[in-house]
Amino acid sequence: MLETLHVATSTRVAWPDLLVFAASAAVILIGALGVVTSRNPVHAALSLVMTLFGVAVLFIEQEADFLAAVQIIVYAGAIVVLFLFVIMFLGVDKREDITVEPLAGQRPLAFVMLGITLGGVIAMLAESHWVTGAHQVVGPIQGHISDSASPSGEVAQLGKQLFTTYLFAFEATAALLVIAVVGAVVLARRPPAPHEPGETHSDQGQSDRELSA
């Protein structure tokens, strides 16, 4: 009886859901096109923020509240700021000419690939059941995500899963982050002057002048 109730409610079009989806889809698509087509890298980074906010809204819409918060904090707050920092640190925030095509015939081929990929994915979505593999495509969440037995919601579920089922992967990401930090430090370090260790300062000054020239 519960199933019939679900089907009955799911066949009715929910206008607020549709409105939220349409608005955030427009935001996501405009942002994505802005990343690809903008000539200034700073504008591209700001368009990326727009797309990330849209995706966060869709996460909330699908009851992934914790991931939406992490998306805003990590992506928009850390990764894009890192991008902007590097863009302005290197001083490459000027307009670039994207009308020239470095490899002849590359862009038409890229758009052919776009058509093939998009058509293939959407045809798979439309045709095959194994792609979605869902017990129920429409309607409310099945299973234990929004179980009424656990009133604390999906954050507690996600935490429990992360620290039990995915514990090894979780520890592996910790190792990965440490390795990434060490790698970033090694990459960003200036190599010392090979012969005169006392003249590293003047050498650094020279390379700074070369960089700014």
Binding site: T9, S10, R12, V13, A14, D17, F21, A25, I28, L29, A32, L33, V35, V36, L48, T51, V55, L58, F59, Q62, A64, L67, V70, Q71, Y75, I79, F83, V86, I87, L90, V92, A110, L118, I122, T132, G133, A134, H135, V137, V138, P140, I141, Q142, H144, I145, Q157, L158, Q161, L162, T165, T173, L176, L177, I179, A180, G183, A184, L187, S207, L211
Partner: protein, 101 residues
Amino acid sequence: MSLSGAWYLGLAAIVFTIGAVGLLVRRNVLIMFMCIELMLNAANLTFVTFSRMLGDIGGQAVVFFVLVVAAAEVVVGLGIVVTNFRRRSTTVADDLHSLKG
């Protein structure tokens, strides 16, 4: 919550292809990185949608790991870009051809 999952999957497919085309077309290394982030976000949206459709929290756990890996990738990648810029004063991928045979 009654919006069908196919809408989200279609949107994710479109965003993924936009990112892929940007990665193929653009020559600025920083913008190529941003296109990779677009593709990762499309995959994340797909994972969250399947997580809702299948009623399995595992998809959201995978998205969590994707976020961590994306952060590590951006840190190392931008470090490489900065190091390369110090040597060659360029962020254009076509100019980095010293290993070309």
